[in-house]
Amino acid sequence: MKETLFALLLAIAIAPVARAHEGDEHKVMGTVTMAAVDHIMVKTTEDKEVTIQVTKDTKVMKGEDAMKTEDIDAGTRVVVTAVTEKDQLRAKLIQVGADPDQK
């Protein structure tokens, strides 16, 4: 009983710390499942499906070349640098890997 109470108090105490902070930067690494003008869905290397918002300020780079989000094929490896905004992820940079059929 004491242990349960202690665990509960500890969870309450660290909850605000554990929450993602507004403006925090994250790297999302995985393969694209769907790419559109305003968002991209990525299956991460931890097997989670993550949706990231894409804005006009999002840079999409394949090596040194810029490209459009909607031109990324499903199955392509990407690394998305994203920031937390209002409990959502907003992409700052999408680094695009080689085409899926080139591997």
């Binding site: 403006g23 925090d24 499942t33 769907m34 869905m41 909607e70 690394v79 695009v96």
Partner: protein
């Protein structure tokens, strides 16, 4: 004597009211470096900074002649020492810059660009108390020259090119963790290791 007594009483009363309201304000608001300073606070702080910079330094023009070499030196120095807070483009849009009180300014804007060469130099050399800006001065001729190179680079910030930004990214200091992460990203994008299998059908959506 009677008047002096009344003035003293009024001052003590005013002091007590100010102390009590400050106490109540602090108790009710807490604090966060993420807050924005109020306009009056910004105005007073900038006025105090201007007054505190010695007149003879304020009126200095950059003694280092403008040249590609000096600009290059400033760019390299900025990428290595300043970009962590100010960002390579001088926007202040970095994790550190956003979390400071006051936030790192957008140095491309009037508030910074309207400072004199001497004021910029003095701020670089001496820092700004009660902000995140440290004093970088080393009291050596090389250090002073480096600060003047930075002044030239700060003037160049509004015209910074994409190519210069790209170059600066490679010059930004990296921790061992960042270095490892960069290598991991490069290997992943080149196709090394197992990639997760996409669950959705393999087609694109052109719109939202």
């Amino acid at each position: 004597m009677k008047t002096t007594g009344r003035v003293a009483f009024a001052l003590v009363a005013l002091g007590l009211v100010l102390a009590l309201s400050s106490y109540l304000f602090l108790r009710g608001h807490g604090f966060s470096a993420r807050a924005e300073p109020r306009e009056l606070e910004t105005f007073l702080a900038r006025a105090a900074r201007r007054i505190a910079i010695p007149m003879d330094v304020r009126d200095l023009n950059n003694p280092v002649p403008a040249s590609a070499e000096a600009l290059r030196s400033g760019l390299e120095h900025f990428a290595d020492h300043c970009a962590m807070c100010h960002a390579n483009d001088g926007s202040g849009n970095t994790e550190m810059g956003r979390g400071l009180y006051p936030k790192a300014p957008d140095m491309r804007l009037e508030a910074t660009q309207s400072l004199t060469d001497g004021e910029l130099y003095y701020i670089i050399e001496n820092g700004v108390p009660l902000t995140g800006m440290p004093a970088w001065g080393t009291a050596t001729p090389d250090g002073e020259a480096a600060s003047w190179h930075l002044v030239q680079f700060i003037r160049h910030l509004p015209e910074l090119t994409e190519a210069e930004l790209k170059e600066m990214e490679a010059m930004n200091p990296k921790s061992a963790e960042e270095w490892n992460q960069e290598q991991e990203i490069r290997r992943f994008l080149e196709g090394e290791g197992e990639a997760p299998k996409p669950a959705a059908p393999e087609h694109n959506h052109g719109g939202s």
